[in-house]
């Protein structure tokens, strides 16, 4: 992997982030009511609105407003929440930390479960185990997160069973065990849905790899089956698996939004939904930008991992 490749890819990331920030800003600019109307209410006088517009800089051209917002964001200033009157930055960053806990736990579990599952299914192609895995993963990809989350909640958090708390969050710093207890159901939901996606893809990649010439050659040389599976074929299927997991991060982000809402978990997704319901522009912009940039960074990391692992690829 050449330094130029890393620099070029990093440059792409910057361009994507800037365009995404423009889209996020443009979308919120199109909102029917502006910030001044929201602060003063529907029945504000014309003069009061004009005065507040001037004070907030809303009478300036759109690109000036964009620049003011964007230069603030670069310095970590995301503006003031219209709903609570607090600074958006600290609120959204602490929410981001909470969401990251959910996402990282889920991603690690998904990688640990779905890759072996896909490999085993592919090696027993057409047998009952493979059909079982395929059937369950079909069910998993067809089940929206909110349905699975609500069903798990109604079952495992019901007063009769009460295995897990129905909602809320405990910081890891105060009580790690209680924290784990609280994130179990959200992480379980995300893991089940993503495992269904990823193991399907890993299986179909493995099926292709197991039919390739070098695996047949290894088999003819008399290499033990287990060794072929885990040494030769798995290593080759790791690359597509990384791509699949990276592609599914966009899906994971959507899942995180939904799961946080179902379990009242204080993350970016919940802040985002609250912001949309209350038309809290600065919070909406900050949450959307943070999520979109996270997605872009995840894609960058996947590309770099791909380039590191596959010596054949020479990115120019």
């Amino acid at each position: 992997m050449s330094p130029e490749f890393i620099i070029k890819r990093f440059f792409y990331l910057l361009v994507t982030a800037i365009i995404v920030s423009m889209i996020v800003f443009a979308v919120t600019q199109l909102l029917p009511a502006n910030a001044a109307t929201m602060i003063l209410g529907e029945y504000a006088t014309e003069e009061a609105l004009l005065a507040l517009n001037a004070k907030l800089g809303l009478d300036q051209p759109a690109w000036v407003q964009y620049w003011q917002w964007f230069s603030g964001v670069l310095q970590g200033d995301f503006g003031i929440s219209l709903r609570t009157g607090q600074a958006v930055g600290p609120v959204i960053l602490s929410a981001f930390g909470n969401s990251a806990i959910l996402a990282v736990f889920s991603l690690v579990l998904v990688s640990l479960i779905s890759i072996p599952l896909g490999v085993i299914a592919a090696s027993r192609r057409g047998r009952p185990l493979d059909l079982g895995v395929s059937l369950i993963s079909y069910l998993g990809v067809s089940m929206p997160e909110f349905v699975l989350a609500t069903l798990l909640l109604a079952w495992l958090a019901s007063p009769a069973i009460a295995l897990f708390p129905a909602s809320g969050y405990v910081p890891f710093a105060t009580d790690p065990l209680a924290a784990l207890h609280h994130i179990t159901l959200p992480v379980l939901t995300l893991t089940i849905v993503l495992t269904a996606h990823v193991s399907r893809m890993v299986r179909s990649e493995m099926v292709d790899t197991l039919e390739s010439d070098f695996v047949r050659a290894a088999r003819l040389r008399g290499v033990p089956k287990r060794r072929i599976l885990f040494k030769h074929a798995l290593r080759n299927s790791m690359l597509p698996a990384i791509t699949v997991i990276a592609l599914d991060i966009g899906y994971l982000i959507g899942g995180v939004i939904v799961v946080e809402e179902v379990f009242s978990f204080p993350g970016v997704g919940r802040q985002l939904i609250l912001a949309i319901q209350n038309r809290d522009l600065p919070m909406l912009q900050a949450g959307a930008l943070l999520m979109a940039v996270t997605y872009a960074v995840a894609n960058l990391l996947a590309d770099l991992a791909y380039a590191l692992l596959d010596k054949r690829i020479q990115f120019k």
Partner: protein, 279 residues
């Protein structure tokens, strides 16, 4: 017409395709006839039978007002399945037109359109739909538009890549030499090539559209009460979920069933149209 029949025959030969086709056909028939076939009035309260489990009178049980869940799910199939189909059609048509135009015109215009689709695809699709809904306001119809717009860039990519493959072919050059107009070439020469791959993608997207539409309604940004939209039914059922699981289980299974049907049909279609890509 002949090729359509050949595709259908190939489709019914794979197990996914046959089951998917049958399920989709049944579901569509149920959707179109739904409200008329419903055994009870979906809005009628039966206060003596609140939270009833499935029985011969209420086949799938009742909710907290004693409304018949089977009738409500059947009535809600229109606002879920038909609207999801509409959202997919909007995204597919817009994407195909943009993709063909971009690929055929080429040059700077193509570069610009592709940069914009790249940027839009860099936003997770549920997040993008949420952003659009925050502008348009919450309603079923706006949710349909939001999903349609979120689907457009992916479709445009597919249509463009097919267009680039056929742009240099002899029959396109022949049409250009005959002096045919740009729009005639785009619609009569290129569009027929784009249809097959776009339809496969669209079929798989219907499952996504159903799930996303229900998700948006669940979040309170799509259908509004008292609509029997499935996602909204689950959102309302949450308040009573520890008393009875049926009000969330029934619409939940309905959503999964529709998504499975379209996923199966999409996979079957892909195998039928592109045999070497099957696994």
């Amino acid at each position: 017409m002949n090729s359509t029949r050949r595709t259908l025959t190939a489709l019914t030969k794979t197990p996914q395709g046959a089951i998917g086709l049958l399920l989709c056909f049944l579901l569509l028939a149920l959707t179109l006839a739904g409200p008329e076939l419903a055994p009870k009035d979906p809005e009628e309260f039966h206060f003596t039978a609140r939270f009833a489990a499935p029985s011969t009178e209420f086949l799938l049980g009742t909710d907290w007002y004693g409304r018949d869940l089977l009738s409500r799910v059947m009535a809600g199939s229109r606002s879920t399945i038909l609207l999801a189909l509409l959202a997919t059609v909007i995204g597919t048509v817009a994407g195909a037109l943009i993709g063909i135009f971009s690929g055929y015109i080429g040059g700077r215009v193509d570069d610009l359109i592709m940069r914009v689709t790249d940027a839009v695809m860099a936003i997770p699709s549920l997040l993008f739909a949420l952003l659009i809904l925050s502008v348009l306001g919450s309603s079923s119809f706006n949710a349909v538009i939001a999903i349609g717009i979120a689907f457009t860039p992916g479709m445009a990519r597919i249509a463009r890549s097919v267009t680039l493959q056929v742009r240099g072919s002899d029959y396109v050059s022949a049409a250009q030499a005959r002096g045919e107009g740009t729009s005639w070439i785009m619609f009569a020469e290129i569009l027929p090539n784009v249809i097959a791959p776009v339809i496969v993608e669209a079929t798989i997207r219907v499952a996504f559209a159903v799930m996303t539409l229900a998700t948006l309604s669940f979040l309170g940004l799509g259908a509004q009460p008292p609509s029997p939209e499935w996602g909204l039914m689950i959102a309302e059922g949450r308040a009573h979920m520890f008393r009875s699981p049926w009000p969330i289980l029934v619409p939940g299974i309905a959503i999964a069933l529709v998504a499975i049907a379209f996923n199966l049909l999409g996979d079957g279609l892909r195998d039928a149209l592109n045999p070497q890509a099957s696994s």
